[in-house]
Symmetry: C2
Subunit: 142 residues, 2 copies
Amino acid sequence: METLGDQECLQLLRSHDLGRIAVVDRLVRPLIFPVNYFFDEGILVFRSNPGSKLDLAPGAIVCFEIDGWDADQAVGWSVLVKGIAHDITNPRGAPTGRMRYWPVQPAAPGSHEHWIGIWANEITGRGFRSDNQRAATRSNSE
Amino acid sequence: METLGDQECLQLLRSHDLGRIAVVDRLVRPLIFPVNYFFDEGILVFRSNPGSKLDLAPGAIVCFEIDGWDADQAVGWSVLVKGIAHDITNPRGAPTGRMRYWPVQPAAPGSHEHWIGIWANEITGRGFRSDNQRAATRSNSE
């Protein structure tokens, strides 16, 4: 298992648009939601319909993850973003106002009219080449 | 956004082997880890090297997620499993002993000698056909 460099993590975040956010609910249970996102300038922005994400994320420390698995090369990777989420639906200044023009395009139906930004405190990534021939073969054949 | 039926959720869990587990750390922050898994009989089993997953999951309520996005069909789905994780590395009885023979094959390197089972309390799934032509087109061209 290899640690990915900062530049590689940023490049992976910039070149993808689907990840998962984890939040903690009021009974200290984790929840995971897939979201389309846009990342730039150390900030990750997604949009939300009303619901648990919107109730729990703003003001909280959240975790965001993307990963990939190339069955042909038997190579896997993941990038983790930790940071504090803020509701930027009604921006108060230039930096958050600008984010409202970022190309965040939810694939799922709904107006997704609430915009949330995650200010990254920590970005880490890991990559590996599989030494498990069975796993590689199995995933290849799927 | 459409709710998936129980049978469809179980079928999706049985036909995949890579998902993500979320746990809550001691400072009430969520963490996400990609893991290979095997699901049967309402129990989801993965293996772990020593580290945060192993420190935080056993005895805790955790969340597990798989998702998929078919760019050609512009169809997306996700399945969420909530339950309590138990360390089954040293099984004390027949049910957990049997799970040690389940085909859980981590793609990542390492012995992954610790086995963890998630006893599902709740399994939910959602699916959608995208009405966002830009999102569908963009993901198609990637």
